[in-house]
Symmetry: D2
Subunit: 344 residues, 4 copies
């Protein structure tokens, strides 16, 4: 099977590349870039061992190719890790002939108002055809689609622990999400505030309340499952490269024991290979660092619950979930080619 990646030099794109190099169903791999076409992959991706590169990139002579060349090669699947807006433009050209998995936000929303508030440009028509690819919640629709909008990293870390509680109506109408993210979430573009010397030994928050774009993405999905309340989303920036840790607080609508909550999570996730339910422990990002797993834990204090979740923002929060979605859509085993153990 042929696969192509747009935007492979960013953090998420490089992770897709690394996963697909080891994926047994991908035999040919095209790296696509308008600005770098013609360059040798081994010059650009020094962390990738030459032998593994050569094997799957023979047909393009180990080179980066242009969008036009990629269209001609008719890949079965293309992944786009381009920035929003330019991602949609590129995806549109492939969507008739290939399975398109878009890691940008361009096709994530059905709610036009939310999209336009969050992103500041008009909602895209094609979004109607896209499936929101939260893998554990959309597997049936993923199987039948050719355009997958891969969820955001904060969104994945928030929705996976929240959706079962919302569906079972055990939490009230006010949710507060405090989430910590590693710096790779900000991408590879050089900005002063993401320099090592600016980030090390520093803790801060940014875009609080509903100021972060992911807050609307979270809200739309919660509302889809019946949530009618309000949300506060407080993202923090902390000095790690990878990892999201979310601590979510809400009122319980009725008395719940820790065992009750366990039952709810088991109902939704006991057969989900990428979800780890931590019965008696608070998860740590090092439990899932480099893996496609999300680990979930919780604590009940009187009538309130605190839910904890951890993911690797680049894997389950981006590249890994994208490949998981490909696996589901194309009928491969869900975790094929994905790592489920921590790499730290």
């Amino acid at each position: 099977m042929k696969a192509a990646i747009l935007g492979a030099t960013g953090y998420a794109g490089t992770e897709i590349f690394k996963i697909l190099l080891n994926h047994p169903q991908v035999s040919e791999l095209f790296i696509v870039s308008s600005t770098k076409s013609g360059e040798q992959l081994s010059d650009v991706f020094r962390m990738l061992q030459k032998n593994s590169l050569n094997e799957k990139t023979k047909s393009t002579a180990g080179k980066i190719i242009s969008l036009e060349e990629a269209l001609d090669l008719k890949p079965a699947v293309i992944f786009s890790a381009l920035p929003h807006k330019s991602s949609a433009e590129a995806c549109c050209r492939f969507v008739e002939k290939s399975l398109v998995i878009d890691l940008s936000a361009d096709f994530r929303f059905k709610n036009k108002a939310y999209f336009e508030t969050a992103y500041g440009f008009p909602h895209l028509e094609l979004s109607k055809n896209a499936v929101y690819g939260l893998a554990e919640w959309a597997s049936e629709s993923i199987k039948a689609c050719n355009l997958i909008a891969n969820p955001g990293c904060y969104t994945t870390a928030s929705l996976l622990p929240l959706l079962p509680l919302v569906k079972e109506k055990v939490i009230g109408n006010s949710i507060v999400i405090n989430a910590l993210s590693g710096i790779s979430g900000a991408g590879k573009k050089p900005e002063e505030k993401y320099l090592f010397s600016e980030c090390v030994e520093n803790l801060t928050a940014y875009a609080p309340g509903m100021s972060h774009r992911h807050s609307y993405e979270i809200l739309e999905q919660l509302e889809n499952e019946g949530f009618k309340g309000k949300l506060l989303f407080n993202p923090h920036l902390v000095p790690v490269k990878r990892g999201i840790f979310a601590a979510i607080t809400a009122e319980l609508t009725k008395k719940q024991t820790s065992e009750d909550i366990l039952s709810i999570y088991q109902k939704y996730y006991s057969n989900k290979p990428c979800i780890t339910i931590n019965k008696n422990a608070i998860p740590q990002t090092k439990d899932v660092w480099g893996s496609n797993c999300c680990a979930i834990g919780w604590h009940i204090e009187a009538a309130q619950i605190i839910v904890f979740s951890v993911i690797d923002n680049l894997i389950k929060g981006a590249a890994g979930q994208a490949v998981q979605n490909m696996n589901i859509c194309l009928g491969f085993p869900e975790t094929l080619g994905l790592n489920l153990n921590s790499l730290l």
Copy 2:
């Protein structure tokens, strides 16, 4: 003036030592330890430049002394950075003759039930005489006392932004504090979970809800100012050495603009040299790293407020506030010998 430090080899104790070496009112400095008495200070404190050591430790020939020797030397002030329980035992022996500033939790509580729930041993009689040394809130009582219970680090970071809002009754009866702490908060005792290789690239939380001892300390102080609601306190562990970042969410009891909140903070803190009010910016721990300042910011989202605060857990959260309390009690300028600029 003579000053003594018990427990100077821990992180907070060493910071007291460093501050007092530069404090113009301290002429003689005694480092007290039952296990290390007789050892050379310059062997134990390699990061302290020998000249500065020699000047103020001449009378003890640059050596660590025992508790008995310290009692004989009648210091005007003693600081205890010993663990709780053993701190109270040592402090009791000095309290008649010296100003005692205790950094442990032993004398922080008036509420017996809270203390005993949090610490698991009986409330101490002497606590009645102790002043809770949150410097910006207790300066009058500090001036008149001889036993100061120095607040906890999380407590300081939480109370300084919360007390004005509680006093002005602008926030409702449910407060959620999410706080991130550097690893030095766990002290210098070797434990596997605090090894560099266990902490780097890792994010986690611990002791959530009301499981952390500081939650009761926060609650007692909030209740003293009229708070009658419930509290959730979620401490996190993140890979920095120093710093606490707190994000506190609550309902507003009435409509408030950002300017209204600014007025409240100005009312309480405009003449407080260690409080920085950030009108339009979320604070970062690098703004106060190594300084005795607390910086406060806020965000209003509909009927809810998120308040942010940052301190250096070892300085404003421990050693710096202890010296600030000494300054207030002994009638020196409040910030004498204290650093107010970030050192990072």
Copy 3:
């Protein structure tokens, strides 16, 4: 095939465990510990996803077993990541029936004097039968042996770039190795100096000259290839979890261009899948973080050469090379089950 691991809770041992969980030739995996036998693997190895654990540890019901139980189960291969001395004792009991791969230093030396100087206890008789498992240099003897002494991490990082130059007699009789190591090289035992708060923002060196045990191990191997000069080995401790960076300086015995050096490395390593030859770039540990590769670069300055090499100390410097050695000995493809791309 059955495989067993002694000392799996340490950093190197856990990496062996993770590699073997994904190794297609290992069907049953035994985790052996005298102190933890009977405990559930999923409690001890939280970063390992339960499904992957269950598959290969069914026969022991997902539990840690004792040494005696392991002997009864007759594994085809055992890996020991125990501390030296206790490792030899355990290995002796398996060596008749299993391939034994020892990650300790117990069997690494033929030179008795060097061993006894470095380790302070008598040289072990069984060392005579052991093959020094520097995989790229000993593949023929590895195929024919049943006891492999897996090299040290610093040693691997030093010998791989040095041996070709020594064999080709292009470098003189004085070698200076400056090597930087991540903190995981010190193991998981809690010691104050390896606490996060002690290591972060700190750079230092230790055991310089010939004070570090690995210096004798390096020297013995260099002498085996004809080196007759002197060595200085300066290990440094720097705040990363994983990685060794070595910068090695020596005089050239005759004029050499950069192309000449390239030819030498190509002669020895062009068919070695775990060696990356960097023609025009200084390697970085992030090129090999988490992989079993060693990347080599060099710079010529007048009559002197500086050679650079990088490895992941836990993979090519320990667990990965151990599995590579198993693969070679048992006739599997050399890199089977091993990761060759950076994971960072």
Copy 4:
């Protein structure tokens, strides 16, 4: 006394600013910038506590001023932390009327060839009048000059341990310097390679041999003291913000004990307040983090010596030494306003 700073927004410039805010002899402080003139200091330097800012910047209403305004204000001393070339241009305009301390490389060289090889533009005439401000070695000429070329960070860390050994002719004609630097050495300009996510968990070297500009600066100063041999300088980049650790190896010209070396260092440095001689310990950067000290240690192995030194690259390697030079030149106590204890 009036002081001005050019280039105060960079790392070194900000440190000068912080030191001078606390310097008892500086009563007025001007921050000069062509691009930011008119901006409020409290907006640009958020880590600086407002009260301390106000006190010394009253005359400019707490604002950044232009170069022309600064010339009119006739500061007694100006510090330039501008990039080379633009620094020389600015310094020339002040040098008649003010003491000029230039932190760039523009005036560091007397050897034209070395300067032009290293910097690629013509040697500046004015360099003839400049004193090379290695404070411990040039105090007499500093007292008599009005233009000080402040040494580079690597240079300071290398020369302070080397010069006594070169002057006493105890080391041979081949010196190898391996030095590790924190990322702040690369400045604040955003570049991909200095992003947090690119630097964390990474170790590398760059500009080896004689490729780094500081290698010529070191060589010129060594030659001034009689060194006639060759130098290899290998700088490394490691994930800390601050700190340089240098490990320097050389042959001994005659047998030396560790005590002999101690005597040499005592001869040159026993009365130098910013030099710490570590008799039996390898220094660590955390011993001098944030301080103006250089700590020196050594190890003798047969006929070779390894010398270790540590500095804070932004303090003794830049801003601190600049203020030390001002103190010496203007007749203040050498360490006035400087911190000599570690701040970490």
